[in-house]
Symmetry: C2
């Protein structure tokens, strides 16, 4: 398809109406109505072929879904609700047919699920696939939760799983299962995976769950003093959260990983692999008991993993000293 | 530099304060205050190495400047004023030193000039350079100018030059002057170009002028019934403007191109080359005289190039039937 045919195809896809979006795809700019929002938050992430994903291990339908999901996780970390998104897609010319259609099917499926209408973007040719998503979240009232506002003594709680995504990636690297690239339903992927733990790992890698509801609930009910999402590995993101608040993380006990992980990856790899899209929140001590009794049963479980303490006098707090994924390939 | 060093470098660059930006780079999301805006408009564009630019002909400082400038042009077409931007930058690991610094110097220079603070982004490794910019504009009062709202009889006016950028690109293609990639000041580039027309062409290609002030003035004073920026070539963008308003463009006279262009490119290439970032506006006939007398002398000249008419009964109005740049490489 030509660029204008691709754009027309996108314009013809059904999308929900949103009071935030006055004009979506089809003009020089999208037009948004900011007047009913207390705050807008915005984030952008790219998925680069060969760096963030390989086409040989992933159907474009799952890539499209993942592209939106990983961006939603940043909204969760502010306690915001999805409002709208933009998509830039760079494709080799031979991928403007089936690959494009499957990618967009997956992307728009998540757009509808999360009520984040696609309001614009840019399509371009290029030598490899490059996906860029910009996403807005809104808050109807109040302020977002920053990552730098935790206080001494706050408990650190984790919502969601850590290490499963890294185990899923490891599985792909180890087995190099090129047949997976042709599988485009969750059911068939689960069948391919065989046992249920392998499927959980693959699913965590392909279709991470952004903790939008938990983030929103923790913010609206005044529990979270600070939040961050775990995208580059639990260890580095814990250090960012505590470092930005000028505090030190003190583990409550050994961080309990899913016991199934041991058969797949080391504890070290689980803590540094990244792409978990779990949520880390800090909870002031006097609210912890209320959180225990008041946290809704339908939200993913939280667990306390430690607390924040004053650093020792000679401690240098730099978030980037921990191990985690660095896109320019050096680890310390 | 590592990814976190690059981010720290960006955070340490001086940027102007803006009441719109409550939190810029450094958290999971940027936080914006939408409450003083009537409307927000937003646009995104990518610059892909080998497609939109070649490193062998362009210093990264100019690439950084151009990356912001081309996005501003979309705001101009809505009659909006720059508010903030996001940047995604994908770089091969060997370009995280001087290339990165020069690119950012250029980008941030335009950010300051146009008061569009950089509030967030994403850095990634990759096999080639890929730049993505998302830009917001705001309107303090009123509505933006769409491209589909022109009426029969409206005059079509052009603000800015057409064809110079294509001539500049043609010059680079013809001469393959790899020494240009090492030139990082306008003065040295002008000296390299030799005659002043060659410099105008190169400048139009490297540093297009977004028509923000003209677009804002035309909107605020109620002159423009519709607007679009000329990014893919005058011919196709004229057809988009008229087609989206279900009308037909009727040239007033032969479109007068800069006479200097004839020595560089054909008229056809000037009308279809694209990257002009001029502004096309439609003006209702009864406001044309007032525009003639009231248009401020400090704004770039406008000229009437034709008007909009009802299409003939058997005419199919499809914006994408005109020639222009298509990223997937087919022309009709």
């Amino acid at each position: 398809m030509t660029e204008s045919e691709l754009i027309r195809w996108i314009r013809n896809q059904k999308q929900d109406e949103s009071p935030f979006v006055l004009k979506g795809v089809g003009d020089d700019c999208a037009v948004l109505d900011p007047t009913r929002q207390s705050r807008l938050v915005v984030s952008t992430d790219v998925l680069v072929e060969g760096v963030h994903f390989r086409r040989r291990w992933m159907h474009p339908y799952f890539l499209g879904r993942k592209a939106l999901l990983v961006n939603l996780s940043d909204l969760a970390a502010m306690g915001a609700i999805p409002a709208a998104c933009l998509l830039t897609l760079t494709l080799p010319p031979d991928l403007t047919g089936g690959f494009f259609r499957s990618f967009m099917d997956g992307f728009l499926e998540e757009v509808r699920r999360w009520k984040a209408p696609l309001v614009g973007g840019d399509l371009s040719g290029g030598s490899s696939v490059h996906v860029g998503v910009t996403i807005w979240g809104h808050l109807e009232t109040g302020e977002p939760v920053y990552r730098s506002t935790a206080a001494e003594g706050d408990a650190v709680v984790l919502v969601g799983d850590v290490g499963l995504s890294a185990a899923g990636l490891n599985l792909l690297k180890r087995e190099d299962p090129t047949e997976v690239a042709a599988i485009r339903t969750e059911k068939d992927l689960a069948a391919w995976a065989g046992d249920s733990f392998r499927w959980r790992c693959l699913k965590a890698h392909f279709l991470p769950t952004p903790q939008i509801q938990a983030g929103d609930w923790l913010r609206r009910n005044g529990f979270a003093s600070a939040m961050i999402d775990v995208s580059d590995g639990l260890r580095i993101d814990l250090q960012r959260l505590s470092g930005d608040s000028r505090l030190r993380f003190e583990p409550g006990s050994r961080i309990r990983l899913d016991p199934g992980l041991a058969a797949h990856i080391s504890e070290e790899a689980a803590l540094t692999g990244g792409e978990d899209y779990a949520l880390l929140a800090t909870i002031p001590g006097d609210r912890l008991e209320r959180l225990r009794t008041g946290y809704p049963a339908h939200l993913p479980e939280w667990r306390r993993i430690g607390s924040l303490r004053q650093p020792d006098a000679d401690e240098v707090l730099r978030a980037d000293q921990a191990d985690g994924f660095d896109h320019f390939g050096r680890r310390r």
